[in-house]
């Protein structure tokens, strides 16, 4: 095309283009209403519910945990006569409800990671932050969205595993009811802990940005570290181990308090402190980093 026809084409294009494009010159003033937090929350919810992996994750968080809990209870109750003859046999029927929860904990952690790492890996995070330059508000919306969702799912899961397991344990006379001392606390905490893990996952997702590394971090903190620390020479294993989220959880869902662990109130403080501190760190990093 010659330079002359190039110029012509430009001129013609501007005329023809007007028919196909109908944009009006709306111009929202700068002082207009700021993006409300509820809008950000709604946006995060749209993103969360519009991918299939969400539903798979929730399914994987729920089904194995309930099945494993029931299977273990069946096993224990059918072998009960053999088990109780051992002199050092101890059984915490309350805590055993949640024996299958390790898997849900991991899945919830992964779900938390993905809320942000999927945006980093795809590059979508740039669209998100360009649309909302207030990055801390984005993180807050993600925190509330996944936190509330994981809490709801966690509690539903926790209650729906407690009743069948205890029904099975009742057959051998050791089942606890929701009214038994500490039972409601244990059930609520077991569900709450899943929200804690989702938020720890979210924080690691922000800090590490890569899905695989963030999942490793969650997995390491929740499943590997307890084993490593328990291998420390006494008394260091106990001294450090009692601060781990797993130990704090164990203290909060058991019938009898463990002597070596933190007190129950402090255990609760610890499991809340993990996501709070990690999210604070994530918040700090997010503000200063190029997207």
């Amino acid at each position: 095309m010659s330079t002359a026809t190039a110029t012509e084409a430009m001129g013609a294009g501007s005329g023809a283009g007007r028919e196909t494009v109908t944009l009006t010159g709306s111009n929202t003033p700068l002082g207009g209403p700021p993006a409300r937090f509820l809008d950000l929350l709604a946006a995060e919810w749209i993103k969360f519910r519009s991918v299939r992996s969400t539903y798979w994750a929730l399914l994987f968080a729920a089904v194995p945990s309930i099945l494993v809990g029931i299977l273990i209870a069946q096993n224990v109750s059918s072998n009960w006569a053999n088990l109780i003859v051992h002199p050092d046999f101890k059984f915490d029927a309350l805590a055993s409800s949640f024996d299958g929860f390790e898997f849900s904990q991991l899945v919830m952690g992964v779900l938390g990671v993905l809320v942000i790492s999927a945006e980093y890996s795809s590059g979508l995070i740039r669209s998100t932050f360009a649309a909302t330059p207030q990055r801390r508000a984005v993180l807050a919306a993600k925190t509330v969205m996944i936190g509330v969702l994981a809490l709801l799912c966690g509690e539903i899961l926790s209650f729906s595993v407690f009743f069948p397991v205890q029904a099975i344990m009742h057959k051998v006379g050791v089942g606890v009811s929701l009214g038994s001392p500490g039972a409601l606390r244990a059930v609520l905490i077991a569900g709450f802990y899943l929200a804690v893990l989702a938020l720890i996952g979210l924080a690691f997702g922000v800090l590490l940005r890569h899905t695989a590394w963030a999942i490793c971090a969650v997995f390491g903190l929740v499943f590997i570290l307890p084993g490593v620390i328990s291998a420390f020479p006494a008394p260091w294993g106990d001294r450090i181990g009692k601060f781990l989220p797993t130990d704090c959880l164990g203290q909060l869902i058991s019938q009898q308090p463990h002597a070596n662990d933190l007190s129950r109130p402090w255990s609760f403080v610890m499991i809340v402190a993990y996501p709070v501190v990690l999210l604070a760190l994530a918040n700090y990093v997010l503000r200063r980093r190029d997207a």
Partner: protein, 304 residues
């Protein structure tokens, strides 16, 4: 209006943008041109407040980006069409963006319609071609009907109809008085789309000029002529003081006379001319020459 004032940005030890200043004015399409690695995308990320310049400042309609509470109403941008979650539908992708800026109602469907993706709105983006993703990215930029629009390599992956559509879209956005910045590493693309050119290389400004001036300066009056009477015409033209060289496909490359003069001379001597045009290759050459110093990546054996 985008005003960029003396910005610099260093990543690690590498200076990606080096004291860059220019303004993108409303009512026209501004082409943002430079070889790969010149700093175009970095500059665009800084305009959107995604990366913080080490030095200098950027204003959009007089404001810093972070001041915008609902930026989609002020500036729409397509940075990377592939930066979408493959598992999400086109509509959900746009709905989430729109909602984050408090936008409800028919805008999502309107922009889907406008870019021609209505029929696949419920399909997962992972199955989209690059061209469809470009359209989706353009839809996202149009959501808030902003006065300032910015597109990074929007033509990649589009089919010829798509390229034509996108050019017309940019033209009409500019005609409506909006500020339109479009990046490309191809001069030929920009020559057909832009009114104004900002050319950068190695993070520095090389040219900030109208397309016609750039083209005029670049082609340096080289005219290609195809005629069955090449020998006769060449002799006549040389006699008139023109310089004539053989060019590709048996054409004559003429400098030193205008197209009108060549036509008149040929007509006066009854010589048929089958084709005559300004030499675009020389335009690309001029662009290459201009940016050669600044080419970041070069294959082994490519001329230095």
């Amino acid at each position: 209006m985008i005003e960029i004032k003396d910005i610099s940005k260093r990543y690690g030890g590498k200076l990606a943008v080096d004291g860059l200043s220019f303004a993108v004015r409303p009512g026209m399409v501004t082409g943002f041109l430079g070889p790969n690695g010149a700093g175009k995308s970095t500059t665009m990320r800084m305009i959107l407040g995604l990366d913080e310049p080490d030095r200098g400042e950027i204003r959009i309609d007089g404001h810093r980006y972070v001041e915008f509470k609902r930026p989609l109403y002020r500036i729409g941008a397509l940075l990377d069409a592939t930066a979408v979650h493959g598992g999400r539908s086109a509509r959900a992708h746009l709905e989430a963006l729109a909602r984050s800026n408090g936008m409800r109602g028919p805008r999502v469907d309107a922009v889907l319609e406008q870019v021609g993706l209505s029929e696949v709105a419920a399909k997962r983006v992972g199955g989209f071609s690059l061209g469809m993703k470009q359209r989706l990215g353009i839809a996202a930029a149009l959501l808030g009907e902003p006065q300032v629009l910015m597109f990074d390599e929007p033509v990649n992956g589009l089919d010829p109809q798509g390229v034509r559509w996108v050019r017309e879209l940019f033209r009409s956005l500019a005609t409506e008085g909006r500020t339109v910045l479009v990046s490309s590493h191809l001069l030929s693309e920009m020559a057909q789309t832009a009114d104004h050119l900002v050319v950068i290389g190695r993070g520095r400004l090389i040219a900030d000029t109208g397309v016609e001036e750039f083209v005029d300066a670049g082609s340096a009056g080289r005219i290609l002529v195809r005629t069955p009477y090449a020998g006769d015409l060449a002799r006549l033209l040389v006699a008139q003081g023109a310089r004539v060289e053989p060019a590709e496909r048996a054409m004559l490359a003429v400098t030193g006379v205008t197209q009108e003069r060549i036509g008149d001379i040929a007509a006066a001597h009854g010589l048929a001319i089958h084709e005559m045009r300004a030499d675009r290759a020389s335009l690309e050459e001029a662009f290459m020459e201009l940016t050669e110093e600044s080419v970041e990546y070069r294959a082994a054996g490519e001329p230095q």
